[in-house]
Symmetry: C2
Subunit: 185 residues, 2 copies
């Protein structure tokens, strides 16, 4: 599937605002892939589809999590986490993308996980630093991403956990495990 076909498919699934964000993630993912030696086409494809399921009804996502035997603890955490694994499933089912690296990069783009692969790191980070993002701390992560992928990823994870702590929001275990894994390297 080429870039234009992928964009056409995802455009029908998400809002215009989210589509602009998606274009930003694709741009950042492509740049990171070129810098750090990942497959640029896979990076672009994963970026384009990363929020594919973002606007599916919660009930549909919940049912997919149950039917596909995804980790059941997802259901006791914020539904914001659901669109990533559900998205990986729906992208495979509805668009025919089969590449496991691409699907895993979609699947773990929100939570992260221990032992993230290169493409997973790139999509997680691109989602954080794409040009449309402007939350506190993003410029520091952008600068780190120019020099050191893992350092940038770690900083993004720390910022995300700190943000959740500041809101007294739950932190999904995989996110913490991903952080512990990154600092142990």
């Amino acid at each position: 599937m080429n870039r234009e076909q992928a964009l056409e498919l995802v455009k029908a699934q998400i809002t215009d605002k989210r589509y602009q964000h998606t274009l930003g993630v694709a741009e950042s993912a492509l740049a990171l892939a070129r810098k750090y030696g990942a497959d640029p086409h896979k990076a672009e494809l994963a970026a384009i589809f990363h929020d594919y399921a973002k606007f599916r009804p919660k009930e549909e996502m919940k049912q997919i999590i149950i039917d596909q035997e995804m980790p059941s603890d997802l259901l006791s955490f914020h539904s914001e986490l659901w669109h990533a694994p559900v998205g990986a499933y729906l992208v495979q089912k509805e668009t025919g993308v089969e590449d496991p690296e691409v699907l895993d990069a979609i699947k773990y783009h929100t939570s992260g996980r221990p032992g993230m692969g290169l493409l997973e790191k790139i999509i997680y980070l691109a989602d954080y630093i794409e040009p449309g993002r402007n939350f506190p701390g993003v410029d520091e992560v952008r600068e780190l991403a120019e020099k050191d992928l893992d350092a940038a990823l770690l900083k993004a994870m720390k910022n995300t956990i700190s943000f959740l702590l500041s809101k007294s929001s739950a932190v999904y275990p995989e996110t913490f495990f991903a952080y512990n894994d990154m600092i142990s390297r």
Copy 2:
């Protein structure tokens, strides 16, 4: 066992500086117990013994963790975590304290855990706010502790996790499970 007997036993195990800290924890624990309706004697006993194993050789602590089949993941986290569960074991073995509430309060005073009991909360918090502590944020937790035990505990947990993040140190899983548990209440 009365206060004086307990203090005598613990004095032989720890440095003078740590003994002063212990007296501070006992003072804070007693005040919290009276405020929040815990048994003052149990609170004092747990406070006095909370750092009983603090200065045991790492090798001895490690062997106890293995021999007593404590969670083996402790060994892959910072040894600073070990003295709490090892302390609970040694206090029971060497001083004859058998009260499970007192022993659990010692056991979980560093990591916390989900579903902490009243005495566990009091010892965790007393260790954080005792008069000798002066790190950033401690006064805010002291003020919260005057009004709301759980709010103070949650703030102490957040500060602890944030501090670990700022140092790029690992966060023991029980610690963030404890945080997730506290915010869900």
